[in-house]
């Protein structure tokens, strides 16, 4: 699938917050669709303009009013340029709460300093591919370099992996935010029952490029990802060298022993599988989870069958619950359920089920 240049121009609405460097950056040659903002154009009441942006580039971190941004405005993907000449401790102290600690998988960080990037990446669990390596230092050159890069990326053909993971809806970051707000407390609840020093093993089935890895703290959680796609496993390994990622064979049997994990979860994966494959995957998730451990499913339960990109096999919540009971022989307890509605979607579409596995441990 390749986007046309017309599509690209209509999609690319990049705001460049230049702050104190606005005069210099305004004179730079930026691609069509990029708008430069000065300090006085981002007063809180003017931030509504962000809604129409596809990306916000923040060149002048010191003067941007991050604290005034609403939850919806945070849904616009950010590119943050780290100011040069400051050490990681200073940047964390000043910007952690305002922005650095809030950057997620769909945001980018631009810096020329490799050491600074590595230290901050480990601290905030960013993916290696979130970095934009700068080759210049003047604000006008940096703006041109980043806008050019975004333009190139918008025009590039979409790989099958990217289609699956990044463009399943038009509002990727917004959808991720809604899912994350639902999953976060459930991850904490699953982890919460164990003492801090007891290792906690989490398995994600259909890990893709690893967008849920940063949500699980590697300090007290060992993460394992499983996927059908070798290409995506490679990408996830490159992005999160500290994680473990394995390939799922065609027979759908997980390469792990019984009761190996405290949590097995999947996000928007089962809907891409026909019922028989769903049954096998659920059954395998149950098999590798320890008694008392959690199984979590975040899926869409309101959808049409479509085959654009990858096939969607619709299922209602009732049908899915029946399938779970069948695949686990009823040896689960429903701990939590919530319906999710994604921004700008007329339907409540998503549903998060968190289940406890019941039974006596077979492995000691």
């Amino acid at each position: 699938m390749t986007r046309t240049s017309e599509d690209t121009a209509s999609r690319l609405r990049t705001l460049v917050y230049a702050g104190r460097f606005a005069e210099k950056v305004s004179s730079a040659e930026l691609p069509e669709g990029c708008k430069v903002l000065s300090e006085w154009e981002v007063l809180p009441f003017q931030l509504a303009a962000l809604k129409r942006a596809t990306t916000l580039i923040v060149l002048d971190l010191f003067s941007f009013p991050f604290e005034s941004m609403t939850r919806e405005q945070w849904d616009v993907p950010l590119v943050v340029i780290l100011p040069s000449g400051f050490d990681p401790s200073f940047l964390s102290a000043v910007f952690e709460e305002a922005v650095l600690g809030r950057l997620g998988f769909f945001d980018r960080v631009a810096t020329a300093d490799r050491d600074l990037w590595e230290e901050l990446r480990l601290r905030y669990r960013w993916a290696a591919s979130q970095r934009i390596e700068l080759h210049c230092s003047l604000p006008e050159d940096v703006a041109a370099e980043i806008c050019g890069l975004l333009e190139q990326e918008a025009a590039a053909p979409i790989s099958s992996g990217e289609d699956y993971e990044r463009i399943q809806y038009d509002l990727d970051k917004a959808v991720h935010r809604v899912q994350s707000e639902a999953l976060g407390p459930q991850f904490a609840a699953a982890r919460g029952v164990l003492a801090e020093d007891v290792p906690f093993e989490a398995l994600e089935v259909g890990v893709g490029v690893g967008r849920w890895v940063p949500e699980l703290n590697p300090a007290n959680i060992r993460f394992t990802g499983l996927d059908f796609s070798g290409e995506m496993i490679q990408a996830a390994r490159a992005d999160f060298p500290e994680g473990r990622f394995d390939l799922l064979e065609e027979n759908l049997i997980f390469p792990y022993a019984e009761e190996s994990f405290d949590l097995a979860f999947t996000v928007s994966v089962l809907r891409h599988n026909p019922t028989s494959a769903k049954r096998t995957l659920i059954s395998e998730m149950w098999r590798v989870t320890r008694p008392g451990g959690r199984l979590m499913f975040l899926e869409d339960f309101v959808s049409r069958r479509r085959t654009l990109g990858s096939t969607i096999y619709p299922m209602s919540i009732g049908a899915f619950v029946d399938l779970v009971l069948e695949a686990t022989a009823g040896r689960v307890v429903l701990e939590h359920f919530e319906a999710l509605r994604y921004p700008h979607d007329p339907f409540f579409r998503g549903g998060l089920l968190s289940l406890s596995k019941i039974g006596t441990p077979q492995v000691w």
Binding site: F62, S63, P65, E67, F337, A339, F347, G351
Partner: protein, 143 residues
């Protein structure tokens, strides 16, 4: 839903599926919440809380802009400025929007902002600052 991989829901089916989803959630919540959840009361109105939070945000932004301006190194020589910087930029914020500690912290932030604006207005470069619309807005709002 049967093992039919060619099932293709139409609009009515979509509504039915959504209805089923929401009904399932209601059933779950009813089962879990036998009693209505208690809503913690607060003696501070939400408007006042929102105002205080805005004051805190304005103070943080003002400090950050001052720090990034050419005046930053000069201002950092002042112990009072360093204290403000430490308190509002370098220390983590108190979590929880309704706790009494958070309220006390926000009220202190408002007082600090008023004091800072007063001092800035009376400084030699106060006149220069008043030429800026944003500074005049802050003055009108908090002084």
């Amino acid at each position: 839903m049967p093992d039919n991989e060619f099932y293709a829901p139409d609009d009515i089916d979509l509504l039915r599926m959504e209805n089923e989803l929401l009904a399932f959630e209601v059933r779950f919540l009813k089962a879990r919440l036998g009693q209505p959840a208690k809503i913690p009361g607060s003696s501070t109105s939400l408007n006042r809380l929102a105002y205080l939070e805005e004051a805190e945000r304005d103070l943080t932004l003002l400090l950050r802009r001052l720090l990034g301006s050419p005046l930053g190194p000069v201002l950092r020589r002042s112990k009072s400025f360093r204290t403000l910087e430490q308190k509002y930029l370098h220390s983590p914020r108190l979590p929880g929007s309704s706790s009494p500690e958070r309220l006390a912290y926000l009220e202190e932030a408002e007082r600090d902002l008023i004091l800072l604006l007063r001092r800035m207005s009376s400084m030699p470069f106060g006149r220069v600052l008043r030429r800026r619309k944003a500074f005049r807005t802050l003055q009108q709002r908090y002084l």
